[in-house]
């Protein structure tokens, strides 16, 4: 399984990421999930979320999750980009792509990855009013 991880303070360039997708004739399904910062946190309007990471551990934990995906599903590639620092409301904070021969495994692995990320990867968000 090909894997790519970017923890970055730069904006997520979705078009560039899509253009860089490796082509593979065995690949039938591509799933992208983009998490966008909402303009409210609970009932309060926010301007941005400030993302903090324990970066070395975050990289390691993402690696553990990618290993587990490779064990559990026939995923061809996973690419994940997570913003750090302030991200304005309306901008993407998370971009995940999985490619696979068939769509069932891509959907299953993507949902598992995002759920587990929110459980174990040490990243926190702080609202900016």
């Amino acid at each position: 399984m090909r894997r790519e991880l970017h923890l970055t303070t730069a904006p997520i360039d979705e078009a560039a990421l899509v253009a860089a997708r490796p082509r593979d004739p065995a690949l039938g399904a591509v799933l992208h999930f983009t998490g966008v910062v909402r303009g409210t946190e609970g009932a309060h309007p926010i301007r941005a979320l400030d993302y903090e990471a324990f970066e070395a551990m975050a990289r390691h934990q993402f690696g553990v999750l990618f290993d587990e995906i490779a064990r559990r599903w026939p995923i061809a590639s996973v690419r994940l980009v997570h913003r750090l620092g302030p991200v304005a409301a309306g901008e993407p904070s998370l971009w995940v792509e999985l490619t696979a021969p068939h769509r069932g495994e891509a959907f299953a692995a993507a949902q598992w990855l995002i759920d587990e990320m929110k459980r174990v990867v040490p990243i926190w968000k702080h609202p900016v009013a």
């Binding site: 998490g35 993302y51 903090e52 990471a53 324990f54 070395a56 551990m57 975050a58 990289r59 390691h60 934990q61 997570h82 904070s93 998370l94 995002i114 990320m117 929110k118 459980r119 174990v120 990867v121 040490p122 990243i123 926190w124 968000k125 702080h126």
Partner: protein
């Protein structure tokens, strides 16, 4: 035995501190280190149930036995995405 301690997210505000060191008499577990830190930083005491603990880049249970020079991290539930 001395270990380094790192706080993340709002634990930094609760303790007024990002990084510190702690000395515990060996053999000591993570549980004992946390107890000692709760004495120094009383506002951590209420958070025991949801506190996450790592040594290096791995999560560890409360009964993990500390080693000289371990880098311990204490933080609240994570919220990526």
């Amino acid at each position: 035995m001395t270990v380094t301690v790192h706080f993340y997210s709002y634990y930094k505000e609760l303790t007024g501190c990002a990084d510190t060191t702690a000395t515990v008499s060996a053999p000591a577990t993570l549980r004992e280190l946390v107890r000692e830190l709760q004495v120094r930083f009383p506002r951590l005491a209420a958070l025991e149930n949801t506190m996450l603990l790592a040594v290096g880049v791995e999560y560890q249970p409360r009964d993990y036995i500390l080693r000289e020079g371990d880098a311990v991290a204490l933080f609240p539930p994570v919220q990526g995405g």
